[in-house]
């Protein structure tokens, strides 16, 4: 009986130790500074995904700029490239930024006849005598660009059994 209790105590203590060690701790993460504004481009119809847009389709997009600081001056510029055409809407704006208050531009865009096209939105808050904060969003018709991936080369073993991952030249 004593052995069973001892075993249980060991299991409990190991479990507790494991829990403690595996707890994610955001206290340990010292991040880089973030620009105090965010830009996003989203279709008015949330059911539309970049991949679902066909050549020549007309889509309505919202350019959303969220400043996280007050500023007397903020500039927004929207560019259409690689064949995307503006049907209507504002592609530039400047004015005062109010912390936490979104500035939204709505545009209607036609995808290129060949399919694809890009919409690029860029927002800047200049800081007198010091520099600027900016943010950018790119909406690529036909493509999700939220993630980048490194190439995945084949894994080999060396003579001692260690992994060697070899990347080939492009």
């Amino acid at each position: 009986m004593k052995k069973i209790i001892l075993l249980l105590l060991i299991i409990i203590s190991l479990t507790a130790a494991g829990t403690s060690a595996s707890e994610p701790s955001k206290k340990q993460k010292m991040s880089k500074p973030r620009p105090p504004l965010k830009v996003s481009i989203v279709p008015l119809n949330p059911a539309i995904t970049p991949e679902s847009i066909k050549s020549g389709n007309i889509i309505e997009l919202k350019i959303i700029v969220l400043p996280e600081m007050d500023a007397k001056e903020m500039h927004i510029a929207v560019g259409l490239i690689d064949g995307a055409e503006l049907v209507s809407g504002e592609t530039s704006w400047h004015g005062e930024a109010v912390k936490g208050i979104e500035k939204v531009l709505k545009i209607i865009v036609r995808a290129s006849a060949a399919g694809g096209g890009k919409i690029r939105a860029h927002a800047v808050i200049p800081v007198k005598d010091a520099g600027a904060f900016s943010a950018e969003a790119i909406y690529i018709i036909g493509q999700d660009i939220s993630k980048k991936n490194m190439p995945k080369p084949p894994v080999r073993k060396d003579s001692r059994g260690q992994d060697i991952i070899e990347y080939k030249l492009k």
């Binding site: 060690a21 595996s22 707890e23 994610p24 701790s25 955001k26 206290k27 340990q28 993460k29 010292m30 991040s31 880089k32 500074p33 973030r34 620009p35 105090p36 996280e68 600081m69 860029h122 800081v127 007198k128 005598d129 010091a130 520099g131 600027a132 904060f133 900016s134 943010a135 950018e136 969003a137 790119i138 660009i145 939220s146 993630k147 980048k148 991936n149 490194m150 080369p153 080999r156 073993k157 060396d158 003579s159 001692r160 260690q162 992994d163 060697i164 991952i165 070899e166 990347y167 080939k168 030249l169 492009k170």
Partner: protein, 551 residues
Amino acid sequence: MRYRYIIFSAILPFLAGALMNCGSGSPAAKSGTSFTSTVSGKVQYEDKEYGKDGWTENTYYKAVRYATVEIVDSVKYTPLASTVTDSSGSYSVSFSTDGLTKVYVRVISETSSQTDKPDVQIQNLSSSVYSANGSNFAPSGGISTVDISISSDSAAGAFNMLDIFTSSGEFINFLTGSNPPAPALKVYWEISNTYGTYYCHGHDTDYCRSGEGIYVLNEPGGDTDEYDDDVLWHEYGHFAAAKFSKDDSQGGQHSLSDNTQDLRLAWSEGWGNFFPGAVKTWLKSVNPSLLSADSSMPLAQYVDTAGTIAVISFDFSASNGTPYIYASNETAVANILWRTMSETAGGLSGIWDVFVNYIPQITDPVNLETFWNGWLSRQAANGSLATFFTSRSIFYQDDSFENDNSPSPVRKASIGAGGEETHYLYKTNSNTDVDIAAFDAAVGVTYDIETYDLKNGADTYLTVLDTDGSTTLSENDNYDGAAYSNCDYYENCPINGIIEPPATPVAPLSSRITFTPSASGIYYIKVTTSPDRPPSAGKYGTYSLKITLSQ
């Protein structure tokens, strides 16, 4: 070798020479039945120039300094010999050709711990070290030349980070005289992960899964930082603080424009913002060719690129026109450190002295107040910092009502509009500031007495004293009645009277008393720093006081 390798094929401008065993020098040395081959060459990586607006589109090749170079058997993938590149990226290594048909040169993204140079490794999240390898060639004795040029579309990012963190370690060695030397650093680079760029001083299974080190991962949206030198130096600043000083920041997201940061966060990030400019200033004096910024850019300019743009481009030396103020703002902290380095006799060595010899000894949470106290304690003879602080609306000085540490019926606070007073919780040459103001109160009338507009991390404790100036009639620490002294993460710790995030109109660290005297007379209001202030707040700070007739 104990590491697994990620091998990048690299450009070999002199491949033909290598294959043909060309070059000059001594003939093959015969040793028994085998020959000795010597391979030498230069290793470079493609660096990208940046300016205030981001990348300039200029690139050029820089030496891969102090990196491990190996000769590897192309058939068995076993290392045959190794050496280290010198400060110009040159290397030379000899090996026996016995039984070999083909070999290649491998450059590993680590500096050798066998040298007196900073020990840095660039790995992926599985602790595999990156490397760039040359093409295979047949060793036949003699001397071969194999130069390796690593282009920016392959593994050059790893070698840029190796160079940036090597220069960081060299900067630390300059500051310490290599006694102690810069500690070994592991850097984890992988762009298929979207956790961002940060320094971890511990381990967890999520953000810090590989243990302590600098993580250079992808940002959501595709931003990567392997070429953002200022971002990399910012994170090394955190590493240096953890290794040589004391850093009580709870970390997390932050921005340069936030004037209401946890004081610990503002100090930690302000130090991180200052650090790139300090390294660049030193590099410019000892080896300006190591800088990647265009020559027109101020040394204190911090640039973080994303795609083709600079999402942050900020000159921390800018002294005018910026709205970033208070000890609770990381930009203000960085500017004060920059000016301390640039405008005092103590300079960088004075800052480093306080950083390593004073701050680690302090038990209170480390913030800008700690640095101020440390400078007064150790570097006062090397220059005053007062004007740097006041230019950022940080007033560690007597306010206009000093000396008011003891009750006096002479100086009375006014009641109602126009009677507001602004005080600093600071008294020169004293450990404690007490602000006491008398006021005339009439029997039966109710007065609202409150501190408000708290800045620079102030946390007030308010007391109403009887007409004798000593008997406590009423007291209040926090406006909302809550206790914050045991708050842990910054989300739960209020600062400057505002809980963020989300911002609320409540001002919990300010104090308020509603007081109705039982007899007319001269009563006293006493304000001190709260003995139960949260670690996010400071001992000093600015507050306003007002007395109004209760509605």
